[in-house]
Symmetry: C2
Subunit: 575 residues, 2 copies
Amino acid sequence: MRLSKLVGERIKEIPNGATIKSHILLLRAGYIKQVSAGIFSLMPPAQKVSLKIQNIIRDEMNKVGGQEVLFPVVMPRELWEKSGRYSSIKDEMVRFKDRTNHDMVLGMTHEEASVHMALNTIKSHEQLPFMIYQIQTKFRDEPRARGGLIRVREFTMKDAYSFHLSQEDLDAYYKKVYDAYVRIYKRIGFKNFTVVEGDNGMMGGKVSHEYMAVTPAGEDSLVICPNCGYSSNMEVAVAVKEENDHTVVGEMEEVFTGNAHTIEEVCAFLETDAKHTAKAVCYKAEADGKLVVVFLRGDCDVNEMKLQKFVRSELLPVDVEEFGLFAGNIGCVDFHPENAYVFFDASLKGLENFVTGANKKDFHIKNVSMSRDLSDVQFVDVALVKAGEKCVHCGAELNLTRGIEIGNIFQLGTKYTQTMGMKVNLPDGTSKEPIMGCYGIGVGRSLASICEEKADDKGLVWPMTIAPWHIHFCPLRLDDENVSAVADELYNKMVAEGIEVLYDDRNISAGIKLTDSELMGMPIRVLISPKTMANMEAEITMRETGERFNISIKQLIGELKSLISYEIDEINKNA
Amino acid sequence: MRLSKLVGERIKEIPNGATIKSHILLLRAGYIKQVSAGIFSLMPPAQKVSLKIQNIIRDEMNKVGGQEVLFPVVMPRELWEKSGRYSSIKDEMVRFKDRTNHDMVLGMTHEEASVHMALNTIKSHEQLPFMIYQIQTKFRDEPRARGGLIRVREFTMKDAYSFHLSQEDLDAYYKKVYDAYVRIYKRIGFKNFTVVEGDNGMMGGKVSHEYMAVTPAGEDSLVICPNCGYSSNMEVAVAVKEENDHTVVGEMEEVFTGNAHTIEEVCAFLETDAKHTAKAVCYKAEADGKLVVVFLRGDCDVNEMKLQKFVRSELLPVDVEEFGLFAGNIGCVDFHPENAYVFFDASLKGLENFVTGANKKDFHIKNVSMSRDLSDVQFVDVALVKAGEKCVHCGAELNLTRGIEIGNIFQLGTKYTQTMGMKVNLPDGTSKEPIMGCYGIGVGRSLASICEEKADDKGLVWPMTIAPWHIHFCPLRLDDENVSAVADELYNKMVAEGIEVLYDDRNISAGIKLTDSELMGMPIRVLISPKTMANMEAEITMRETGERFNISIKQLIGELKSLISYEIDEINKNA
């Protein structure tokens, strides 16, 4: 490819609104262009990367027996009503009426479509297990599109669905896909990713895992044990709580605390610290409008995902005065509001000698004792894990980090086969609903996440396995006839030898050429100039390491081919 | 692939509602499954064919310098308002509001998106010409979905857009893509296709060509000159009209014709023939509600596509009584309705001694003469071409046939670059809107059309270049241990040698196996059985020709590889 004809431009400035490295660089290097909020066009280099990632995914899916299919983007309402998701999924799913006034949806996932395909075409137990997958555009009307390709509304996704006769068979196959995913991310070039226990969200089912690219730009909080490898999305993470050790207990005493409402204010006022307080965090349950109150130790925070599971509802902000309570003075002693959900987090277990609200304007109570004053409390785990808390598996101190979810796998159970009436005949004459697994990978998000991992302050850095081109060929001084003749000849040779090369054939300054090559991120830069040609040499620079060496032009093609194979082999041999 | 695990089933019966060969066979052979009207899932074999077709297209697009990109499926209203198409395209385009109440559309074509990508990223004349293309899912809310994959609402399409500085440059590039398309269809395996002059429809611009798979199942009427190669979609076809030779002219005379209203009835009543009559065909113009009347010779029919261009409006059916006219008695003598469009088709040129309506209930006029009674008439060409009319280029008699449009190419002019404000800088300091071309191929429609061309009464017949698998391996009597051991061994060898093989590993009757292999349509069937194995042989059957021969099992793998290469080479060498 001649750079002079490549669609796209390279820009120096940080584009408006872009804050994340991958977003900034993909825009600056001419890889993507925004069309609307969360909707991008992929320009030629990005589409090349995307296709290479897709081929790696396809290859690994085929190796675990996957059969590639194509489901529709647009589906009729009826299909989604069978599973109950037409109503359970809200604004994220786009709905429209077609010209005959029929309700249609844009598929944001394809469990229903996969069962529809198997329904009546798979009848016998002998046909199971099987897995079908597709690579296709999906649209989710994401409320918080941000970060370039990290969180978008339209995206290319690989989604796969497997069908099994027994939980054991699903478990075994799930493990196979788990491993295939590890290979996929390694082959893409990720070095820094982890697999965490996930939350099933709208999918139903129980076991699930999320593949996380570990990066400070990530939206997800991860809890990781450096000792035993336990790793979890914060949403479902568990830890051994620090034990409470306040044993000196005085009599309960109501104290005036005036305008001190936040934990920090109350602690300052009463000269105590947050670990000696029980705070109340309140919500309204979306499902039934009831008040939700969580008591937890003052230094802890609520894990809303966990709390939602106890309440079985989304949580909304609440004005507690509506419920006759005094904001900033809610406390756990003698607290019995009508028609409310009240939870005590495990962080309060064994807490003695602590401060809590007096349920009375401008007052708190001190010297409260869980064992003496609240002995009948049932504790639940609804607090976020904190760094330094202990691993439940090995007792080591946990680390917190951030990650981008680049893939996920779920055990779905029989939710979809049951609701859609898919059964297969068993040898004993009975029939059974297959148990399903589902497996997703976001292609664009993987592309952006590898940028987050690899890119440096000069620009993008592509692993050889997915680089748009292997070589960025940079002849300097194309106004020199010697250079331009040799450059054209070398370019033609590279193309003829099947080397993927981006040829900067522009007769412009060395500065722009070199800066562009660093910004665009091909793994190998080949430079010739009147100076290198004086020795009949070319200069090779490895983008990732900066390693630089000269090589005779005669040996160039051979050297490039072996460098490319070497790099690809290095990545794949670990996969 | 083991057939026992392949998702899909083979069925004997003709599925309800399927009337076209490709639709029936793709359903019966387990290639597609309908999800909603005009919306299908592609099952594993069809997706394999689709990917192979896509790769042929991709290869040829890259050879003419195309740069692959990806445009969004969902686009904001604003983008389509710039070109004026947000309002000019009607119900075919799906519109919806996103969660922020913003108007969005599903892209049914991507001229706007292609200019959006080039806008500001292409600034200099040096970057032109260039062509960008994508292969992606599109949705058009087609009112008459039918024929399986022939006319659908959701489909995979390759669409390409080129940008040029001059008409000459576009012409030259257009020719290149024209030829690339011919190579694509040949490589897919088409033998019976033709290129016709097309109608630009909603695209704007002038020059266009349609690639037509010639088949009786086609929806389009084609006019083809067997002598000089002139070929055209009926919508825009022209021909030399048969000359009128009625020279004996009597006096005009009003005659009672009573209930004789149609041309047949009037001719029977007056004992003349349709060639001696001028009939009126009426419509209402959608744009302004005016009456549209076309007079043409009684044996001719109106070409509504041509007529629409004169009226500049869609045409609706009309009740002529509303306009004070007598249906069946409208005639061209002294016919001056207020506020109507009146056209005389060229078929009436020089007509003498003919019958037309008297514009009076139950009466016609006979002995009308164009030259004497209607000498000031301007003729236009708004009749359908008929078989046997003469080619305007060479005078040979024209043939009519039918075709399925499998691709089209258009010269767009500057409609989109002008309305969207895309300019490139010229060397002289001025700037200019690029001239565009656009180029589409329907992947699914090509797949269905090649079925129409190749399939026989036993089932599908795939060309080697796009077959889901090259080999259908059919061992009979798998209950025989010898057979099953050799079968497994041969299957593993084929896979190891990179031969794409569908292995019928089911232990079922020979009848079902052989019928399935014919239905599914792989190019080569390899059969082993206790009988062939007695001579250590396998039986090879070529699906298309029925040619059958035995070969020693030892030589089988080598023979298959050379048969496969030979077939692929045969197809490609003509491309």
